[in-house]
């Protein structure tokens, strides 16, 4: 809101460890977490209470969330704990 553009980029790599991600989600206040392994290293994490589906794949995570911005921030923070960064 100060009119400046932040071009600093954080690089992330590695794969999301699902048990660690579920634990991080729980710590961030999510209570209803359903995990489904869809094969080939892909997992769907469903948060039905928060209208959210998270597709975790090797090198890609897609968060489909129609909920509030605060929900997305909590999910993002949980994911960032599970990835390596520079």
């Amino acid at each position: 809101s100060d009119g400046t553009v932040n071009r600093q980029k954080t690089y992330m790599w590695g794969n999301v460890n699902i048990p660690a991600f579920v634990e991080a989600l729980t710590k961030n206040g999510f209570v209803d977490i359903k995990v489904e392994d869809t094969g080939e290293g892909c997992t769907i994490v469903d948060l039905p209470n928060d209208d959210t589906l998270i597709q975790v794949e090797p090198d890609n995570t897609h968060i489909i969330c129609n909920g509030e911005e605060t929900v997305r921030i909590k999910i993002r923070d949980a994911l960032l704990k599970c990835l390596k960064k520079i």
Partner: protein
């Protein structure tokens, strides 16, 4: 800062990852916003395009013939629906939201909220 043999080199982080054989992990968010707006979907898409273009002058914005709007090659906006209401799909990568949230006039941290 990367050490190659006995030399220290300053390299782009993206290149450093590639050199190390590491693949970047992409985070993408998708959210669909419902709009109670009468008229054709192209009219809604046009309105959003004009808003985005006016508010995000720092970023390249393109409007393709199928009615989808792309911002910086990372944000995608697609409008669908009928005469009565529209659903607006907004998809963005983690890094882009960080950049765009800084320039939204109302301090909102999501492009969907700031644009619509």
């Amino acid at each position: 800062l990367v050490m190659k043999g006995t030399k220290l080199q300053l390299v782009d982080p993206g290149l450093a990852l590639k050199d190390l054989g590491l693949e970047e992990h992409n985070l993408r968010f998708t959210s669909t916003v419902m709009l109670e707006e009468e008229g054709q979907t192209t009219q809604t898409a046009d309105r959003i395009y004009q808003l985005v273009k006016t508010n995000l002058k720092e970023f390249p914005v393109s409007y393709s013939s199928d009615g989808s709007i792309s911002i910086s090659d990372s944000v995608l906006v697609q409008v669908s629906g009928d005469e009565e209401s529209k659903s607006v799909l907004v998809s963005w990568s983690h890094q882009v939201i960080k950049s765009i949230c800084k320039i939204s006039s109302d301090g909102s941290i999501s492009i969907s909220d700031s644009v619509l």
